[in-house]
């Protein structure tokens, strides 16, 4: 069995900062800077606390993961009942500006799915949601064998502000963004093998294809799709930088290649997927990070 979802069950948004953020006083700044200094010291690093980061962090307090996701989950609940969700997984790259909150418990409370199991996956870079997708499939397979139709909620959120300077975040020129995806465990394969809705195939991480040969053989090495699915046109969703690289390569240029908005961080692939809402395609979402390429394969029917 595998997971499926509908493009209409992907809700995402870029959240705007309030133009008139409340003023921050010196005592508040000191509190944050003391925390940051102790935090870095505990990791053997010199303190990097600065007023502008502390102020920016305070100004983002209305854009907590919980605040963003609560809105989106509320909107999704108007489309489909969520009180029977069995699993709530939060995936994120950046830290939440709200320290100490259990976002998964807050969302479980909001949906009324009181028997749901909540967990968050982080420290896996921008591909955390891909890993979460595989985790959702593994969990529902393990706990609900033979019971199709069970639901999971994938929550994705990122901030544009953290308490200290972060070169790796700043290069994305990020925005606060969030996304929710309602997934359902699929019943048995349709008799004709054709997918209905968007079906998750698998998640895989491979070394980043740094050579021509590695790029040429990448699709075969990923081995995402069945021979029947190979007949479907391939849609590639990836970063603008990697999309440009692929378009220069004859083997890849023959496929449809779309890039996402990097500023949306972990929500970016899902936002692009929702915008395109393709039919009858196999889809590869590819996230380069460090020396690896994380990929999630999807198949979408008519």
């Amino acid at each position: 069995m595998s997971l499926q979802f509908a493009a209409t069950h992907i809700l995402w948004r870029q959240f705007e900062r309030h133009s008139a953020a409340p003023a921050v006083d010196d005592a508040q700044l000191k509190q944050v800077k003391d925390f940051v200094e102790a935090f870095f010291h505990a990791h053997g690093h010199t303190a990097q606390a600065q007023d502008r980061h502390a102020s920016r962090w305070y100004a983002a307090q209305h854009l907590t993961f919980r605040a963003m996701l609560t809105q989106l989950v509320g909107e999704l609940a108007t489309q489909i009942p969520l009180n029977d969700v069995e699993l709530v997984v939060l995936a994120h790259w950046t830290p939440d500006v709200e320290v100490g909150c259990s976002v998964t418990n807050a969302i479980i409370h909001q949906t009324g799915a009181h028997d749901a199991f909540g967990i968050a996956i982080s420290d896996h870079g921008l591909s955390s949601p891909f890993l979460a997708l595989q985790a959702i499939e593994d969990y529902l397979d393990d706990t609900n064998a033979g019971r199709p139709g069970k639901k999971a909620l994938l929550l994705i959120a990122d901030q544009d502000a953290i308490m200290y300077p972060s070169p790796s975040l700043e290069r994305f020129n990020p925005v606060a963004s969030a996304c929710v995806v309602m997934l359902q465990k699929r019943a048995d394969e349709p008799a004709d093998g054709r997918a209905t809705g968007i079906v998750f195939k698998q998640y895989r991480t491979v070394p980043f294809p740094a050579t021509q040969h590695a790029l040429e053989t990448l699709l075969n090495r990923l081995d995402m799709f069945t021979s029947m699915e190979e007949h479907l046109p391939l849609l590639i969703l990836t970063t603008a930088c990697f999309a440009a690289q692929l378009r220069m390569h004859a083997q890849w240029a023959s496929h449809r290649i779309e890039s996402w908005d990097d500023a949306l961080l972990c929500s970016a692939p899902w936002a692009r997927l929702q915008q395109l809402a393709p039919n009858s395609h196999r889809i590869l979402m590819m996230q380069p990070q460090d020396n690896a390429l994380s990929c999630a394969g999807l198949v979408v029917g008519d």
Binding site: F39, H43, D96, C101, D123, G125, I162, S166, S168
Partner: protein, 325 residues
């Protein structure tokens, strides 16, 4: 799923309660409650060591203690932590790379498991069980490594008024779907959430806190009963209760309510180390295994954890039947 090697890292010299009182300036009332009511003595603190260095020290020790064949099949490395982000944002990738290098597995998946506060590690067991089972079904014979351990770097993670104080200890626990001699079988993991309290650390009031306090023991009892039911065990069959190191009288109340003897509560570290976030369960399991003269006499084992944002976890562990003699 089976728990194989557990490696722990505890401070060689524990910090005494009077020294903690002076360091944290938590007031005379807390000192009296911690010493007289909770009978706490000391905490494990690494005053001068940085968290990434402690993790790598732990893993080098783990490598020395672990079966090399199983060590070579680690595919998933999960760091379960109480604080949602216990490391600076730009530090974690370096830690993950160091860890993969030590494992000799550049393709190992490293990630954090959070949101259940100090119950995140037991929640992580449930998650990794599903992940490893699925991997085996795909013919990937992989093991999982669960890491726990955080630093008490700030006054928000040093003590909880009247309830107890935190400690620094780290554990590395090897998990596999395959048994081995001496391994502990995870018979059941049961999680319950009082989801309404997910935000209580951010915003709460007296009525809400009273309601949480009233719901705490009944919810933990329900969680234990759920775990026992899944494991097919009766309360009176339990031979050991592994507590977490905060508010020790809680476990006597749970014992009375569930129906097992108070003397099965494993108190070896309960008053000595402080509440080491997600590590308490694994420190005690390692110790229990090391000191038990007869494995059969200490199992079935019930392990408990609670997360301050409303998560409750109970796990039942048993030795393989061939190891009981």
């Amino acid at each position: 799923m089976y728990i194989h090697t557990i490696t722990s890292l505890v401070a060689a010299n524990l910090t005494s309660l009077p020294a903690l009182a002076q360091k944290y300036a938590w007031g005379e009332r807390n000192t009296k409650i911690f010493s007289r009511f909770h009978r706490m003595e000391s905490a494990s603190l690494f005053e001068h060591e940085a968290l990434p260095d402690l993790i790598m020290q732990l893993l080098r020790q783990f490598q020395a203690e672990c079966d090399p064949v199983l060590f070579g099949t680690i595919g998933y490395v999960a760091w379960a932590h109480s604080l949602n982000c216990p490391s600076p944002f730009d530090v974690v990738p370096g830690l993950a790379n160091d860890l993969r290098s030590l494992l000799g597995r550049p393709q190992a998946e490293f990630f954090s498991i959070t949101q259940a506060s100090c119950a995140s590690a037991l929640v992580g067991l449930k998650f990794l069980d599903a992940k490893l089972t699925a991997a085996h079904a795909r013919q990937d014979k992989l093991c999982g490594l669960l890491i726990t351990g955080e630093k008490c770097f700030h006054d928000t993670v040093q003590y909880v008024d009247q309830n107890g104080y935190f400690g620094e200890a780290l554990c590395a626990t090897l998990l596999s779907p395959e048994p081995s001699p001496g391994a502990l079988r995870v018979s059941a993991v049961h999680i319950r959430q009082l989801a309404a309290y997910g935000t209580r650390l951010r915003a709460t009031d007296r009525d809400s806190e009273n309601a949480y306090d009233h719901a705490f023991i009944p919810t933990m009892v329900e969680t234990v009963q759920g775990a026992l039911q899944h494991a097919g065990r009766r309360p009176e069959e339990l031979r050991t209760l592994i507590p977490y190191h905060i508010s020790p009288p809680t476990f006597d109340r749970i014992a009375d309510r569930v129906g097992f003897a108070r003397d099965i509560i494993y108190r070896r570290h309960l008053h000595r180390l402080g509440h080491c976030f997600c590590s308490d369960a694994f420190i005690n399991l390692k110790s229990l295994r090391a000191h038990a003269e007869n494995a059969g006499a200490v199992h079935p084992i019930l392990v408990l954890a609670s997360g301050i944002a409303g998560t409750f976890a109970a796990v039942v562990l048993e030795f393989n039947s061939e190891d009981e003699t």
